[in-house]
Amino acid sequence: MKLDRLLHESLPVRALNAETRARVLDAARHELRAGRRVPRWYWHVAMIVGSTLGVVALAGAVLLAAGQTAAAVVAAHAVQLAFLVSASLGCGVAAFGPRLRAGAIAIAASLAAAICLVALRADPAVASASPGWLCLVSHLAAGALPLGVALHVLRDCAPSLTKAVIAGFAAGSTGAMLGEIGCEQGPLHIAVWHLGAWAVVAAAVVVISRRLTPRSYAP
């Protein structure tokens, strides 16, 4: 017997029964009646990038007001901040925009931004007395809101490892930006604690998003 014929004859094709049809249509009509807002992809990008930049702006303002940093320090790290903002925006667009194939570019941009943070960081004139893990903890705390937003937004799409990784990079950049505003320690500290926090947030988004039930399975 030919495999093609066997496939056609063997696979169960059952007519969609009237009860199932009515149930599915009822559910669809109920969903339409509920009139929930259907956000476009750029709203998703705005939410994730907005939450990241919002947290950074707020925390930066607090650090400035408390005298923990200075405008000159922020200005000195303008290039790194520009890289990070671009990477975050690129990741947001790649994760939720119409062209998921831009994902590889977004991941590459994030890695380039990470390398740039380490490469452009000078050794500190005075060694810091505070432990390195303090940065890790504060960056994780700062990344909590963008992480939550990323998970919320990811539920609107079909589960995708690529999307989750890129959204995680976007959310995780929060701590790295804060590090450029409020931390003067050397490249090794950046590589271990700042980038470590970035990776932890990204990994958390990937792991948690796999366990969430999506609201939609659209790509």
Partner: protein, 182 residues
Amino acid sequence: MQRPTDEELMSRFCDGDESAFEALFERHAERVHAFIVRLVRDPDLASDLLQLTFLSVIRSRSRFQPGAQVKPWLYTIAGNAARDALRHDRRLAATSEGLRPPRERAVEAALPDHGLRRVLLDALAALPTSHREAVLLHKIEGWSFSEIAAAAGITETAARLRAHRGYERLRSLLGNRLDFES
């Protein structure tokens, strides 16, 4: 009067015409349901997944790209829902092994017990989901490789490769039973 295309219906639906959604549902529900049944091998689960598929269409209509084809988009959603359900099913089975019968037997139980048919269904189930989808879409739904590629977000060559590998794997799993029972 000319029948509106799927894309015209989708465009009207995106503009707020709910009757266009119902027209799309009437046009595709039957075949999408059959596609899901073939993927998950459980009619009850397939009905739930059909509902999730059309709810996803409603919830994600703003993300549908104008100019894109509706059918590949719809089947991609159905495939995503089926894959996710199978993934969760495997996870459940791994954590409660032996506590309940596998869902995928439900379809076979309803079919006449033909040995070769059962072997084929088992062989299909043994394929990676992406290969199974490609085989089913190409051989059963009659899709071209470019349509499969558009639905899966892969190149046409990759779609051809998936279907070919799936088909060859089926052949090897069925072994000489194909010739024996002819």
